[in-house]
Amino acid sequence: MKYNGKTYLANEINDQIKAAGGTATLTEVLGERFIACGLKEGVVTIEGTPGNALGAYLDGAKIVVKGNGQDAVGDTMNEGKIVIHGSVGDTLGYAMRGGKIFVRDNVCYRAGVHIKEYGEKVPLIVIGGKAGCFLGEYMAGGIIIVLNKDNAPDPIADYTGVGMYGGKILVRAESLDTVLPEQIKCRRMEKGELSAFTPYIKEYSAEFGMDESALVSGTFYLLEPDSNNPYKRLYTNN
């Protein structure tokens, strides 16, 4: 199926994608919401700027965006894969509970807010560039990797991991000056520790045709909740 930006309503687009078995190329996309919502199979390729909640509740299909995403990409997704050849806005992977999201460049605020894992369902978010504030806010499980491909001095921002009580955040950086919540443990990863995560970095590199060797080298920091220091107060005073 091919779409050329002529129909406005997202359910019409989604009905057509499903009728075509899940595989479709959409061009001239501009702000249409809920594209590929809940889709179980197929590959949806999007040219343009898809609207909010792209791939919400995604359940097995793959979405490739040749451009930027907006807010709430992969909202509550359950299974499948989203690949963004650009950057995205806020709340990437909101409450995600499975599947994988790869963003070539940067993500704005609250990526991975409240993502969770159970058994074999371990959601994965790989961010090629930098992440905004509140990365992994209330995170309950899963893996977030910030690759910082351009070697920025501050790849993550304030309030990363606020309210986090499960899961892992990996950050590639020479040093990490970001002030983290008291309830987060942050340490440099030891040699060999990264190997459990390199398949994800290789997958990122393969999706965007990049050289993986630069991305697996350098220092990685690991952020996890500190179970010895449970929460008393999540936010500061006004």
Partner: protein, 363 residues
Amino acid sequence: MLLEGEFRNPAGCAISAIFDKTGARFSGADIIDSIAVMRDRSNGLGGGFACYGIYPDKKDLYAFHVFFTIHSARKDFEEYIARYYEIDSDEDIPTRKIPEIVDEPEIRRYFVYPKQQYIDFVKTGPDECVFRTVFAVNTEIKGAYIFSSGKNMGIFKAVGFPEDVGRFYRLEEYEGSLFTAHGRYPTNTPGWWGGAHPFGLLGLSVVHNGEISSYDANRRAMEMYGYKCTLLTDTEVITYILDYLTRKKSLTFEESAEVIAAPFWSRIDRMGEEERARATYLRDVFSAELVTGPFSIIVGFDGGVMALNDRLKLRTLAVAEKGDKVYMASEEAAIRRVCPSFDKMFYAEGGKPIVYRVKGGKQ
């Protein structure tokens, strides 16, 4: 059946702006196209535009845009205004009759300037005269609302989807150097003509996506300084806070942003000594003007535009530049619609104002 305003709506709203940094004027057609992309964010209960640089032939006069919702209001208003103002001209604001916009009040504009004896009486300048008149009319003359009162700018708003409101007001026939737009999805308050955005006072205008938790505290604080909230919605008070801070207290827009979206104390604790002293001073002196709750706003002013998110960034706002043009919108798609490729794009961060001025614009 419950009427609008008697039940709670889920949140939405869309905002958008186009600005030329050289002050060059362009048609209002683009801003309609931009806001129309975000139609899903509104529900048809309010749309509007603030347009700057549209009255160059009368740029030294105050342009009052007025709604009259009852028949007697116009006579009362005109008698009142004639006492205090020289009236250069007045006319119906041109509209296009379209089925999407219904129940319109009488909509007129007046180009005026305070009489010398009124300026002498008030003593603090013609802007202060207009400030007093706006609140006197909006609170004392039943059925009359001055919803725009700046020089060489005008607000156009209605109940409807914004793209329909733009067609209704024939916006494509105006040329300006800054246009801001709003599509409304009212949450706690009625969808009525006066409650549509933008809200304006003198040359200031505000469009807002969000919901202000501190509204009542802010409203009471502003009433102490003579600002009376009459339009039944939270955004109005942001406009008055900004007028108070920038006009009466002579703060810059950047400093005002630091007041209404003040940094958290935990962040202030980490600042260098000088910066910490300034941030502490602003929080202490203007504590009642702190605005909490989710918001993204675009503020139009004489010679510039400011975008600001709440400090937790619970709303989103994209900004793009292309040559001398600046674009701002709740969604990137709304920018791409009128500017398919830009030089750079970024999102406004929480509590960090993005300000653009024409050369020589107001600080």
